[in-house]
């Protein structure tokens, strides 16, 4: 008779009587039971005897390691799409991942031409970029009262109140329209470029 008992906080008298009688009869008939109980009588906690069961087999390894795909919003899929587009048309990721210090200027320059022509095409087709200020760089300009600090950044001797007189160092860039193609939902935006195998 194999009894398993859950550890109860406060067993009642009837329960104790039952267990005592069961232990009395089992101790007389079962030697292994006596071996198990004796340490308990001496106050050493034991693990209950588990019948020998072979260890369960390991779960089979997954056929392909594909963790569940996060949602497009979590992934910032549109940013990845733009990067994939720049890699496809201009090899931008290849260029940036390469180590530039070990190559001569001429080699870097030749690669830069390829990246430039491809990425420029992407920018022309999917974005409309315009300078924030249309004046030529180096010209003297006047920053008016109430200017938008996100559009115009002041450097140098920044004291007093607008209007300021200064010279334009960088005309800035603003995207006036964005029309990027979107990736189909069934495909993974994290794959920027597939590996190419020639057969």
């Amino acid at each position: 008779m194999d009894m398993q008992h859950q550890h109860q906080s406060n067993p009642g008298l009837l329960a104790r009587l039952k267990v005592a009688l069961a232990c009395f009869s089992k101790a007389l008939s079962d030697g292994a039971f006596v071996n198990q109980v004796t340490p308990l009588l001496h106050g050493v906690p034991t693990t209950p005897a588990i019948p020998h069961v072979p260890p369960p087999p390991l779960p089979p390894p997954p056929a392909a390691v594909v963790p569940a795909k996060p949602s497009p919003e979590e992934l910032q899929a549109s940013a990845l799409n733009l990067l994939a587009l720049l890699q496809r048309e201009g090899r931008l990721v290849d260029f940036l991942q390469d180590d530039v210090t070990s190559y001569s200027d001429a080699d870097v320059g030749a690669a830069a031409r390829i990246v430039h022509s491809g990425c420029r095409k992407v920018l022309l087709q999917s974005l409309s970029l315009e300078p924030v200020l249309k004046d030529s760089e180096g010209a003297a300009i006047q920053v008016p009262l109430g200017f938008d600090p996100q559009r115009i950044r002041l450097t140098g001797n920044v004291t007093g109140t607008p209007p300021f007189r200064g010279s334009l160092k960088h005309h800035g860039w603003i995207a006036t329209s964005v029309k990027l193609p979107t990736l189909a939902a069934s495909l993974d935006a994290r794959i920027l470029a597939p590996a190419e195998v020639e057969i």
Binding site: P181, S186, L187, E196
Partner: protein, 613 residues
């Protein structure tokens, strides 16, 4: 539901669609609207572009993930893809790519309705016919239109569609193009020749001002050199009772020579320098070199001051800086290869070189053997020397050795380079000056890429009675081959006579009865006629019999006519006397019928576009 006139340019390398609202009372002027065409540009990405690349890729079952080739109107598409991605991926796997379907459509040496493309593809690649490929491009355009105009409920099948074909396409190729359109679900289709479409686009963009540049007595030479083909036409401006009239008087042959040849020539020249340095380019790199040469060529033509342009060919691996090959394209090289190679200064009487084919040749498209466009132009003008005779108000004092144009309209991406246009004009004016003619001037203001589609849409509006229509009728005279009865001589084929059934310039909507000849057709059996066309014989009337058409240079043989007349219930093998009748439909298609002489029977003869035996 609005009514539109839709013009479709079904090109060898690109297709374009332009449209015009027929309900408006004015033409579009210079504002000629194009339809943006959504197509798969990368796996899973659909982008709308102004042109659809005429390439079709047939992927392997395992090649792409599910849903990668989905289109907004067909999310489950996976067997084939058309457009930009097909072109760019197909250049890496050319055995699965269908390209130049249009050139195959007019190649008489193959069966154009059976699955032969991709040409010489391995066993497991599914193959389609040139007819099917053209039909798929057209249905993609139709689906793109329907998708954009879904709200308006004006599907393309209900609109008037004008589809352009090269002027050099013969009756069989035009027939196939029309069949492709019908298979694609377009019901209301008219065919228009591409050089005429280019002239229509120019007329529309200029509006009424075109009359200043096209006066009665002018002869306009349209030179159309696209990506893969060259096409020439002559259009005369005449005065008919006080009204200006445009008449197409001559068309040239279909020459497989174009901008792609020029890019290849530049790439081979640069490749020789790599080979001299011991570097061998693999096919992918050579392709990238061709592409780089095209971009460099455009840059050199656009900026006359640049002495050379650097070329960079990327490697295929991920190390861009380590794998890039560098070269340079100099202006001298550009001039030597393009200007001297493709537009050499030549005299009017030098014909294009045709090398004799020795022994085995690979069965493929019949590319032009002489790359000189100016020599082909000289051959065209010489051959058509008599074309203008009937359209001139005063006869010439001395006969001319070639047709003298007074102005030139350029079309095709090749002529975006101003130096090449000037080159053609220089050579032409040398020929004119040598015979005492006035120099020709250029008709300016054409949009070289989009003119054909735009002109086609405008033609749909012109057909409703607005603007000026170019007359012309059929571009060729057509003849039926008749075997002569001769005693059998071993080794000698009996000469074939030609009976004219459709004269040169037969107008649309007219028909001609061939004068009674004793023809007997056997009912219930297949009957076969040889069929010939001539683009130079203008004076032959219906019923004229020409003695020997087989070896005469004026005639070219087109697809034979085959027909099996169904038996009418009486005994088969009966010989029925018939008359022939030719008609040109409103769509510009030639139809031949056999009309029973003493009875109600009428049978249509079909052009057999299968292989010539």
């Amino acid at each position: 539901m609005s009514r539109y006139s839709i013009g479709i340019d079904l090109g060898t390398t690109h297709c374009a669609v332009s449209y015009l609202n027929l309900d408006s009372s004015t033409s579009r002027g210079a504002e000629q609207t194009m339809l943006p065409i959504p197509q798969v540009t990368a796996l899973g990405v659909v982008d709308a572009k102004p042109l659809l690349s005429s390439f079709l890729y047939l992927p392997n079952a395992n090649e792409f993930p599910a849903g990668a080739l989905a289109l907004p109107w067909d999310p489950s598409r996976s067997d084939w893809v058309v457009g930009e991605f097909a072109r760019s991926h197909g250049s890496k796997s050319p055995t699965r790519l269908v390209s130049s379907a249009k050139s195959w459509l007019c190649h008489a040496g193959v069966d154009r309705q059976s699955g032969i493309l991709p040409w010489q593809a391995p066993e497991d690649v599914q193959r389609i016919s040139p007819l099917e490929a053209s039909s798929r491009y057209l249905s993609h355009l139709r689906e793109a239109w329907d998708h954009q105009h879904a709200v308006e409920d004006s599907p393309m099948s209900e609109q008037e569609v004008v589809l352009t074909v090269p002027a050099s396409f013969d009756a069989a190729a035009r027939d196939l193009t029309l069949t492709a359109a019908l298979n694609a679900g377009l019901k209301n289709v008219t065919l228009l020749e591409e050089p005429q479409a280019a002239l229509y686009a120019w007329c529309e963009s200029l509006g009424e001002r075109f009359r200043k540049h096209a006066r009665p007595g002018d002869v306009i030479l349209v030179v159309d050199v696209g990506g893969g083909t060259s096409d020439f036409s002559l259009i005369a401006v005449t005065d008919q009772g006080g009204e200006v009239e445009l008449t197409r008087v001559a068309v040239g042959d279909h020459i497989l020579l174009g901008g792609d040849n020029m890019d290849l020539a530049l790439a081979h020249t640069v490749n020789q320098r790599f080979a001299a340095n011991g570097k061998r380019l693999d096919p992918w790199q050579f392709n990238a070199l061709t592409f780089a040469c095209r971009a460099a060529k455009e840059q050199l033509f656009a900026n006359p001051e640049l002495p050379h342009v650097p070329l960079a060919i990327p490697g295929r691996g991920s190390s861009l800086m380590g794998g890039t090959l560098r070269a340079e394209l100099g202006r001298d090289e550009l001039n030597t290869v393009l200007a001297e190679g493709f537009f050499p200064v030549t005299t009017i009487n030098l014909l294009p070189r045709t090398a004799r084919r020795t022994g085995l040749t690979q069965m493929a498209l019949p590319y032009a053997q002489d790359a000189a466009v100016t020599r082909h132009l000289a051959a065209f003008l010489t051959r058509q020397a008599g074309a203008l005779a009937r359209h001139q108000s005063t006869p010439d004092s001395q006969p001319k050795s070639f047709a003298h144009p007074t102005s030139v309209l350029f079309n095709g991406g090749v002529f975006k380079a101003n130096p090449l246009r000037q080159r053609v004009l220089t050579v032409l004016n040398q020929w004119l000056a040598a015979e005492g003619g006035q120099p020709a001037k250029e008709l300016e203001g054409a949009d070289l890429d989009l003119a054909v589609a735009r002109g086609a849409a405008y033609y749909g509006w012109v057909r409703h009675g607005h603007g000026l229509r170019i007359r012309g009728g059929t571009a060729r005279a057509y003849y039926v081959g008749i075997e002569t009865a001769m005693p059998a001589v071993p080794g000698m084929e009996p000469p074939v006579k030609g009976l004219c059934v459709a004269p040169f310039g037969m107008e649309e909507g007219t028909q001609a009865d061939v004068p009674p000849q004793e023809f007997g057709l056997v009912v219930g059996e297949a009957t076969r006629f040889r069929f010939f066309a001539s683009s130079v014989r203008r004076d032959d009337k219906v019923g004229t019999m020409i003695e020997d058409v087989d070896w005469n240079n004026d005639f070219e043989e087109t697809a034979p006519i085959e027909t099996t007349l169904p038996s009418t219930g009486t005994s088969s093998d009966q010989l029925i006397p018939v008359n022939l009748q030719a008609a040109v439909t409103e769509l510009g298609m030639l139809e031949l019928r056999c009309i029973e002489k003493s009875g109600p029977g009428s049978w249509k003869l079909e052009l057999n576009v299968r292989m010539k035996e």
